[in-house]
């Protein structure tokens, strides 16, 4: 496979994953704004921070409110991470790597782009937001379904999965990072309604509220939530799950190509850090520190993959 094609696939699936996660962030923010009368400004601000676009947003708007944030995150083409921008970039990458995709995958990505372009043509009214977020979620499910249902399990698939895993881990880690202060175990706040709402937001931002409740019944504490999001490899957005898949797919490449490269060692070390820690030692290191390290190392794996597999030269 061409190095450029591997890079195109990897980025295509990073962009698709990013779009879906941004929509999920908006959904969580919107819900909080509806259920809480005060302090929605702080909530929207943290949504923008989590999406990693605070600088761009602040250059354009002075206040953090629903209309501006939703517009900036979903349909602003000057925001390189907006849903519409990443959907377009994913589709451009798909055109570039068209020969590596099945017709079904290509058509689903093309349709995703056509559908979202028309859905996000005009500013989104509050009444339409749930329906539009639903469309975004459904479209990405269609792409994923086409990928899993029709693609050969070869290096092409591996690069798609690696891009997805890296991006998703980065997203979940950034959500924890932005909200880490609400997730620190602190006796005085435990059980207070403020915490409950905050935790609920965190869980909703990664579509984990149902899974978490199912596993933990009524017990919701900061450490069970953090443990779930970082260490529970059964949950498809946890750091442990993403890293496991990252390592596995890199492993298939190593086997397929008969060659282990530096990126394999970096990914292994990322995974072993998760394995040898438990929730107690994570809080001991400091959650902020731990997550910060994870984000840096996760990115370093990505950069090494680009070099090792000659994406750009």
């Amino acid at each position: 496979m061409l190095g450029k094609t591997a890079g195109g696939l990897y980025w295509m699936f990073r962009f698709l994953e990013r779009g879906e996660n941004t929509a999920r962030l908006v959904e969580a923010g919107f819900r909080i704004a509806l259920t809480r009368s005060t302090d929605s400004e702080t909530e929207w601000k943290s949504v923008v921070t989590t999406a990693g676009v605070k600088a761009g947003y602040s250059a354009k708007y002075e206040t953090f409110n629903a209309a501006n944030v939703v517009d900036y995150l979903l349909r602003d083409t000057t925001n390189p991470s907006s849903v519409i921008s990443v959907t377009e970039k994913a589709r451009t990458n798909a055109r570039m790597v068209r020969t590596a995709l099945t017709t079904e995958v290509w058509e689903s990505v093309n349709e995703n782009w056509m559908t979202l372009k028309s859905a996000l043509k005009k500013p989104v009214k509050e009444t339409e937001l749930p329906a539009i977020l639903g469309i975004i979620r459904q479209q990405s499910a269609l792409v994923r379904g086409a990928l899993h249902g029709t693609m050969l399990r070869n290096d092409i698939f591996d690069f798609a999965m690696i891009g997805t895993a890296l991006e998703r881990a980065d997203n979940t880690a950034r959500i924890i990072d932005v909200k880490y202060y609400t997730l620190l175990p602190s006796a005085s706040f435990v059980g207070s309604s403020i915490d409950n709402v905050q935790w609920e937001t965190v869980l909703r931002s990664v579509s984990a509220h149902r899974a978490f409740r199912w596993l933990n019944e009524s017990e919701m504490t900061s450490s069970t939530i953090v443990e779930f999001l970082i260490l529970d490899a059964r949950f498809p957005r946890s750091l442990a799950f993403c890293t496991k898949h990252l390592v596995a797919n890199l492993g298939y490449l190593a086997k397929d190509y008969g060659e282990r490269l530096p990126c394999h060692d970096l990914a292994d070390s990322l995974q072993s850090k998760l394995k040898k820690n438990d929730i107690g030692s994570i809080f001991e290191t400091g959650l902020h520190q731990f997550i910060g390290d994870f984000i840096r190392e996760n990115n370093a794996v990505g950069a090494q993959i680009e070099l090792d597999y000659r994406f750009n030269g």
Binding site: M1, L2, G3, A6, R95, T99, Y309, R310
Partner: protein, 475 residues
């Protein structure tokens, strides 16, 4: 223009009923509910959009992707008509290859005085870099798309040879797919020769042209200028259908005297490069130094016999419209036979007497630039305003050698489906030809382009033309 003339319609004789090749189709059509056909027509458009069969129009925003309108009435040729056409095309393509080999080597046709030497020596499309070399198997034009027009029952003319980089074959294939998808019952009632082998044959034909240095199974790749090129869809479509890599210039470099592509596992040698990049962008070391689309040094690798470039650099000279006017002589010179297919009468404006004639009859003629393509920069005299005519007169006088003129042909029409009925529109035909050292093969049919405006003679997709599926019937 056109509509007031008496045109040859390929489906219907004036009042005498349906021409034989259309017999069965017409019966089927008359039994169809027009409302269903209207619905199908809309379905076809949605199908093309979803599959991404689009093209970019130069001069419009980069993101602008347009569909080529598709008309659901097929253009039908009998097997007898096709046999004659394909013989004529094969003869012409063999002559063009012999001509190219000759002008880049012994130049016998120039010495014999059959083609004026200035037409070659002063031609921008003549590449001195190709002098004295023979491409593998002496094949210059691996892929040709001969443009054919028709004016009567037995009157077929070659309008252009397109020996350089013919495009449109993906539409030929997708149009058939679309028809099969929309009207499967038609194909069980009417036996149509298949076109779907084209990608497989293309790969085989290209592989058969691999250089001598290639050991084992040749590696073929398609070189595209990138996703912003107007024909990018076709480039990726062909690479995909052939099962080969689609590469851009920056994926390639010279490694140990070969062209190699950067893969996830290092550099891999390419033996045959089907390039969809023009000559002057192919190699910044040998041609345009600022080109980002090519591969530095590829011409040296080519001359050393370590890669096959399809089509060969320098074939563009055969597309020159002044050279075209000599094609009947060229065919006779190399094959010893009379040309089977006619040439359109052509006035070379470089010749004073012809220029005089052209200026006097401008409103009746079609004037083209000798290196032009895509319908750009041409004048259709009968359709032009007084202002356009005088502007063109000035252009002709200042640079006569840049132009040729031809009579406005009364092109045949084939009906299109419009608002629940059939209406005649002018068409042309581009069959696709594959050339390898021991074989010339022509896919039965080709791309029929159709002018969608009543009376219009301009069929180019860049100028609002559409396409039709083209059927060659089984015997």
């Amino acid at each position: 223009m056109g509509s007031d003339r008496k045109n040859f319609d390929e489906m219907l004789f004036g009042n005498e009923g349906v021409r034989q090749p259309y017999d069965n189709y017409e019966k089927w059509f008359c039994s169809e509910d027009p409302a269903r056909l209207t619905k199908k027509s809309k379905e076809a458009e949605a199908f093309f959009r979803r599959t991404g069969i689009t093209f970019n129009v130069y001069g419009q925003a980069a993101a602008q992707e347009r569909l080529i309108p598709f008309d659901l009435v097929p253009r039908i040729l009998s097997s007898r008509e096709w046999t004659r056409l394909s013989k004529g095309i094969e003869q012409r393509v063999r002559a063009i290859n012999a001509f190219l080999h000759d002008i880049y080597n012994r130049q016998e046709i120039l010495r014999a005085g059959r083609v004026p030497i200035e037409l070659i020596s002063q031609n921008a499309a003549f590449l001195p870099q190709m002098i004295g070399m023979s491409p593998p198997g002496d094949v210059y034009t691996h892929i040709v798309g001969t443009d054919i027009v028709r004016t009567g029952e037995d009157d077929f003319f070659v309008l252009e040879d397109n020996a350089r980089t013919p495009s449109g074959v993906s539409y030929m294939l997708e149009n058939r797919e679309t028809m099969l998808h929309m009207f499967p019952e038609l194909f069980s009632q009417i036996k149509v020769q298949p076109v779907s082998d084209y990608p497989k044959n293309l790969r085989k034909s290209l592989a058969a042209c691999a250089p001598h240095s290639c050991e084992g199974k040749p590696t073929v790749a398609v070189l595209t200028p990138g996703i912003h090129n107007s024909a990018y869809f076709e480039h990726s479509f062909l690479a995909d259908q052939m099962g080969v890599e689609l590469v851009e210039g920056h994926d390639l470099r010279v490694v140990d005297g070969h062209i190699a592509m950067r893969t996830t596992q290092g550099y891999k040698v390419i033996d045959v490069l089907y390039r969809r990049v023009d000559d002057e962008y192919l190699d910044p070391l040998n041609f345009k130094p600022e080109s980002m689309l090519g591969v530095p040094g590829i011409m040296d690798v080519y001359r050393a016999g370590n890669i096959t470039i399809a089509n060969a650099p320098g074939t563009g000279i055969a597309d020159d419209k002044a050279i075209y006017s000599y094609m009947p002589d060229i065919i006779e010179f190399y094959t010893g036979e009379k040309a089977i297919l006619k040439n359109v009468e052509t006035w070379r404006c470089s010749e004073p007497a012809s220029l005089q004639y052209v200026l006097e009859h401008l409103s009746e003629l079609v004037v083209k630039e000798v290196h032009g393509s895509g319908g750009y920069g041409m004048l259709v005299g009968p359709a032009a305003s007084q202002k356009e005519l005088s502007a063109f007169t000035a252009k002709l006088k200042s640079n006569p050698g840049n132009y040729i003129a031809q009579p406005t042909l009364s092109l045949s029409t084939v009906p299109i489906f419009t608002k629940k009925q059939l209406a005649p529109r002018h068409v042309d035909l581009r069959p696709f030809v594959l050339v390898s050292p021991n074989k010339v093969s022509i896919t039965p049919g080709g791309l029929t382009r159709v002018a969608l405006k009543a009376g219009s003679l301009v069929v180019n997709s860049s100028q609002g033309g559409g396409t039709k599926d083209t059927w060659v019937l089984e015997d």
